[in-house]
């Protein structure tokens, strides 16, 4: 069973958001990394880039496939995880911790309210696998 921490917000594209003040920390879920398989390459934006909610901000590649990743919220990228150049497998090993991808200063923090709760996301992934 995939790990779905209680204190995070989730998108239907399988990203998670951790709210720290007006900053959203964004990554992909345990369910997503497990579906992808061994991650071998992560492409991320640069600090200063701006994204609208649901806009693609990068890609995650496994041996077999490429998946785009989408920003669940609007805002400006203030930091990116630069560990992936050497250790893309961190996405698999620790998707909610060392596998975080970007930090976004939210331009519309209210967008978080429209994301899924942990319980809702769990139901959503169950429905998807059935």
């Amino acid at each position: 069973m995939a790990n779905v921490p209680e204190d995070l917000h989730y998108s239907k594209d399988h990203e998670w958001v951790r709210v720290e003040g007006d900053v959203a920390v964004i990554g992909i879920t345990d369910y997503a990394q497990n579906s992808l398989g061994d991650v071998v390459y992560v492409e991320l934006p640069k600090p200063g880039d701006e994204f609208a909610a649901n806009e693609s901000f990068g890609s995650v590649e496994s041996v077999k496939a490429v998946s785009e990743v989408f920003s669940p919220v609007s805002g400006e990228v203030v930091a990116v995880n630069d560990a992936f150049n050497d250790e893309p497998e961190k996405v698999n090993a620790d998707p909610y911790g060392a596998g975080w991808m970007i930090r976004v200063r939210m331009s519309n923090p209210g967008e978080v309210d429209s994301l899924l709760t942990a319980a809702e996301y769990e139901d959503f992934t169950k429905a998807e696998t059935e």
Binding site: G37, D38, Y41, V63, K64, N85
Partner: protein
């Protein structure tokens, strides 16, 4: 209303793959494991360093028997089946009159009048229709026996010692691209020293209802579960292993739009063996020289090439990627592509259009990986 999903075909090991945690995908109409819980990279590396077990029961088998078997096979395929001896196998292709490829296959000779063609899963029905349409006056019997067989591939440097525990056949005596009939774990089987990984190894054919027993016994014999034990491997590892070895995959490097010569498979075009389908076109192309060629490349900048992405030389699109992937053992990003013959030289700098981003790459010698013998 959505159309009901087509019923996927299953190998005799379908339940076993699910029990082992295989992630099942639709592969050319077959419900097959793309990977097991160990993951593609570990499956790939284990096969290179120890051993891997693959279910390839979806492959098709067509028996060709009768006094004209050699003549018939030599007419529909490009290689020279008359050169085979009993117990020998040969890589060959079914060709169109344009010299393009209906399928690539292995030709097994059991006796001068008994052969088996082993063909790709997704093309078995097409191949059968093609082959039977060319049977005219020749004294041959054709039979599609695909459903009768399971086929398991044991590959890797430890494949021989693992399989040897289950059979009295002297495996060390079976030369590359040769086979013997005998018993494996008491089951009548054909043991062939062939594979699709670039490693030493064997492919074992047996009655379909013996698949589970064979699979389990090979896993046991290979210490499945131990840190360096055999691993069941899915289609994703099969693909990366064959790509490192620069072996063609039907539908990618070769299909009905690519000729054997373009695909560097001139070595299976025996133009002097007598008439065969496509001989004239291939002889003409050999004289003129193919306008494009299949090459191997590796990425020299960060990025992974994927199938179908455009290839550029000096900013101009000149070709396309046929297979692109990370290479888990070589720890590089590699691929194969068609490029104009004038660019098909080692060291040639190219670029791959990776979803709109141009990434530098370089044509390199193939195979990318060659095992030590």
């Amino acid at each position: 209303m959505t159309a009901p999903a087509l019923e996927l075909k299953k190998t005799p090991l379908n339940d076993t793959h699910r029990r082992l945690g295989g992630r099942m995908v639709d592969f050319g109409g077959w419900d097959m494991p793309v990977q097991y819980p160990a993951g593609t990279i570990e499956e790939h590396l284990r096969t290179r360093t120890h051993s891997g077990l693959f279910d390839v029961s979806h492959m098709g088998e067509i028996d060709v028997t009768g006094p004209d078997a050699i003549a018939f096979i030599n007419f529909v395929t490009s290689n020279d089946a008359s050169k085979l001896t009993d117990g020998q196998a040969q890589y060959s292709a079914l060709t169109t009159s344009e010299g393009t490829v209906i399928d690539d296959l292995l030709v097994y000779r059991f006796s001068p009048d008994k052969f088996t063609l082993v063909v790709n899963a997704g093309t078995t029905d097409k191949d059968w229709a093609w082959i039977t349409s060319h049977k005219k006056e020749q004294k041959v019997e054709l039979e599609n026996v695909s459903a009768n067989y399971c086929q398991l591939a044991v590959q890797g440097p430890e494949a021989l010692e693992i399989l040897q525990q289950l059979t009295e056949l002297p495996l060390v005596e079976i030369k590359y691209y040769h086979f013997r009939e005998g018993k494996v774990d008491g089951i009548p089987a054909i043991v062939s020293r062939t594979g699709y990984t670039g490693e030493d190894g064997f492919e074992v054919y047996a009655a379909a209802d013996k698949a589970d027993q064979l699979w389990q016994r090979i896993l046991d014999s290979g210490n499945y579960g131990a840190a360096s034990g055999i691993l069941p491997c899915g289609l994703a590892a099969r693909n990366t292993l064959r790509l490192e070895a620069a072996m063609a995959l039907y539908g990618h490097e070769i299909d009905e739009t690519t000729t054997l010569l373009e695909a560097n498979l001139g070595w299976i075009c025996k133009l002097n063996k007598g008439d065969f389908i496509g001989r004239e076109a291939l002889a003409k192309q050999k004289d003129e020289g193919p306008k494009r060629r299949l090459v191997g490349f590796e990425m020299t900048d960060r990025g992974i090439a994927r199938d179908e992405q455009p290839v550029l030389v000096d900013g101009e699109p000149v070709g396309r990627v046929t297979s692109g992937s990370p290479a888990p053992f070589l720890k590089k990003n590699i691929g194969m592509a068609y490029v104009p013959s004038e660019n098909a030289n080692e060291g040639q700098r190219i670029q791959i259009d990776v979803r709109g981003r141009l990434v530098d790459a370089q044509i390199v010698e193939t195979p990318f990986y060659k095992r030590e013998r």
